[in-house]
Symmetry: D5
Subunit: 148 residues, 10 copies
């Protein structure tokens, strides 16, 4: 059978560990951002053939991994409420601030949404003596509702 | 009875509409950010007395609104999956990118979480000829797990 | 208080019934498609001011209805599984044919989705001696996933 | 044991990949539409013996695949809410426009439903300089409720 | 506002009680079966104008009840699992015998379903010295799946 | 280990297919109705030893199948809402007509329920030029609630 | 409108409190067991006319309460998991001991169930120096599954 | 690895069947009640070492089964609603009579609960010419709520 | 009607606010702990008559509040997952540390549970220059499982 | 592949049993508290390399166990409602006392939460002639909401 996305992720995590690589160095090898490359390695996005080949080559993995990275994913996750405390707090932010984001996006742009497809994200570390801070920047195209 | 958070929000929305105010102008009157002030007006955060008074005064509302803005909220939302397309896409981002964010935060900071309490957020408009873009910036303190 | 979307829909349904109007004639008065105008009257889309005024005027309703039609909706529905047999069968089609649609859209367009925002729909009647047929045509922009 | 629908689908996907076939070419070999043949290959519909034989022969698969294609399926999917963004947006369309479709079908046809059994669907690509568009056409028999 | 289906059912139940009528006598006045007329009075089916008028007249109710009986219903019930012991046992029968019914209908008719729209039902009492028995007869059109 | 009900069903389905038997012919060999024998073969009812032996013998299966047919089943199914369209429509009938059945059974019998244990069912084909019809007859003992 | 079961229960609870009556004295007035009479007063069972009249008379309530006590109830409760600690522990006993009860009833009676309709229950207090004990006795008819 | 509770139960059921033992005879060998011993064999309670040894010896099973019987169980069951008709009816009794039991226990004992830990149960057969009856007796310590 | 627990809580919260009382001062007036008295005022526990009278008197409320405080509560909360961030984190602790608490309680006490009925709790503030800390102490009787 | 947290826990439980170790002795070997070390061994927290090595050495396990103990966990548990009676009662305490804890923490600290990350817990045994008692002490940093 063809390699599944789950087997692909297991192979990548193992090679990453053995090689002592980081997501940052894999992203550098791919020539793309950390967030996007990591999400593709975790099976939630697809890579173009040349980029997939670079990732596999960097990790010393064979062509079946590259092929699996190119496959268009069926994205699945446990609907409802995540349990892991790190992911839960992101979910909580959507619950607490969702209507606020809706109000402010409507005020600034009109009726429509922020695309989750034409979208990018960065995650940075802000060093701070009172405790370092995580900075997440999301950037999505505004898609207006249009009448017809 | 005391004014509830729901009655407070209705009063604010009506006054905002009649006055032709925006969330931006209310935030300016409060001297705080748009996101925080809007979330307090929607009942999901509390304001200090002097700030609550400024908001009520700006909108021409009486002291009961200021009191309600100061109350510590019981934060509730429909758990599970939001329906509104704008809010749903934020939820989808957490589903699709949650494990990626977890991997990268752990890589950059170690084992721990991004706080949703010691936290701030900004929502900006990026003008773009190919379609304007929504830029959301989240900034939360990293809290490490500590052994005891 | 301002008129809610629910009160607006009730007022429109009552006026439509008393006037003997149809969704088709309301759409004609609005100068837009039946599907879009009906969805706005049911509270799931917003209308531009001039269009909203035309709808209210056609039905003999006052300015508060026009204002409510212009408000940006918080779209909500009973998540999970609809009960009404007509709506359930649409849900069943998504369940039975969803993976098929995913396969064929990916084959024809690559990795991405059909937008539900930059989207239109028509509902037509096909007369047929063996029993009339419902023809639903959906037309949505293809949004490709892009790496960053 | 007999080949299950799941094993059948895996065998078809693998043969399709190795042969470099598309759903379009498989449908052509079967002499039926892309949507129907793909849904049968994914295990959600059954094929007549002669058509099943053609599909198996085209892909170079043996009789057990043809037999499995002929079996009447037990159709199952994850009830509630799909996660994959492409399938989710179809679900969202049913949520947002379901009551609208109900109103308009009732206005045009009377009390009844659109059949999801006596039903066909086509998926086409509309080339557009502002971005290609997905066109989905559903055609189902109207079934009126009758008193007894 | 127009009378809702819920108000209509309350009015009918009250008039039925005061008049000492039975569902059987209401059905006789309507000239249709007990099951269908009762389901319409409970808001789950619509009646033609002349039949609706007969029901309202028989119960001494005014035109608003007849109008409500004619409205096309939005059928809703508590999805999942019913609590009332009588209705629960019907649900249990579907759980226990559903796959059996599927096997036997497929064996006798081929791939397809029994329609729940082109459908009728009767409920009879079979007198029996060892305890009377309820006899429920369902009669639905077989709808075959057809390829396209 | 002892043969489970699931293994038993798989063995029966395979033998039935290889022998070209039908549920009707298995029921005839058992000397009982199609519905009951099929439900026992699908693991939802138990057979008496002599009947179980006849079924196993007819299908050329050994004693372990007969033993498994005699075991008292733990009846399980996916609670909530079935997905298969044929089974779903039975569920829909309970949703739409459940309160009607309750009203009519109470009117004819008094307060109580129809037993799902002291119960039988038949499934017949009614040939009809406008499309064959499925006829399902359920017969259950009425159990009155008694005060104590 | 007719008095609902909920209004009936409220009226009974109030009268019971004002009169200083107990469930035990109401049951004595009715000439039936405490459990059954209490369940009828809480809306989960119906009483015969003469018994209902006795209960209403004892509490000094009018005929509408007696009529409501005679109505056949639609039994509803919050499916899933009860929250009240007393009721939860009963639910826990079914979870922990349900399969045990199934094994032992099958061993003593054969395949079948204990009826929840032809059923009675008593609740007694066992005085004990180490802490009083609650004794619940359930008595239900065994209903065997029969082949047909 | 150590034997799990599930493997233990399978071993016991198989040995019980081969030996032709009953739950009653196993309980006799253990010197405890049928309900408790059966629940321990099904993995929902733990036995003391000497009792566990007696059960294993009686069934001709080795020390690993005795060890598994002594392990403190993680009690799990499918929350929500059981499907098996026998277990469901017990659940239904809690739904229908739960508030009644709460009222009567409070009336006889005051505010508190019946313990499900300091608890015992017996299941007996009452022979009856009109149909045998199942008698379940539960005996749990009353635990009063105490202020502090 | 009698005052409900919800009306009682509203009356207490209003009186507490107008009087400028704290939960601490109410507990002092009652002569019991803060946690217990607050939980009774929020409707989740009952007070003895003399204590209830003291609370009502301290807040200047009439006898109906005292009566409502004495009523045995039906304890209800939204099962599943709490949304409020403060309460959610308590729930998260049970999820993350529940199996750990089970292991350690079993190691120290044997098979059994910590009672949630014979139970008390205290909430204290630990002043700390690096940030004050919340200290919650729970004290519940160990209840061993006993064979019978 | 790398050892998973589940395999790690199984290896630790087996070694603990064979060695006759207790959680207390493992914690002593690690030089940390029982609660934290047990939670790490059950896969819900990570250990520093030197501590992980000590645990593995004490139990006579190899380096793969130490590596697995150091991995940052994806914390998962069955959301909703736990079934095990010991864990359920902890959940019940959060349901019954959650709003009380919220009120008292707000009264003592202001608007904010108790951290579940900067957090420790102890579990002790209080010997008591009337029955030993479980004492659970939680200690978490107070995190105030701050405006921005």
């Amino acid at each position: 059978m063809m390699m599944t996305k789950i087997e692909m992720t297991e192979a990548i995590i193992l090679a990453k560990s053995e090689k002592g690589a980081s997501w940052g160095s894999i992203a550098e090898a791919a020539g793309l951002s950390e967030v996007f490359v990591t999400s593709a390695c975790l099976g939630m996005n697809s890579l173009k053939p040349d980029v997939a080949d670079k990732v596999a080559a960097y990790l010393g993995l064979d062509a079946s991994v590259s092929t699996a990275l190119q496959a268009f994913p069926m994205k699945t996750w446990e609907k409802a409420v995540p349990t892991d405390p790190l992911i839960y707090r992101l979910y909580e932010i959507v619950g607490v601030y969702g209507p606020t984001m809706k109000e402010l996006i409507h005020e600034k742009f009109g009726d429509g949404i922020m695309s989750a497809i034409d979208f990018s994200m960065d995650i940075d570390k802000e060093v701070n003596p009172a405790g370092d801070r995580v900075v997440i920047t999301m950037n999505g195209k505004f898609l207006p509702y249009k009448a017809w």
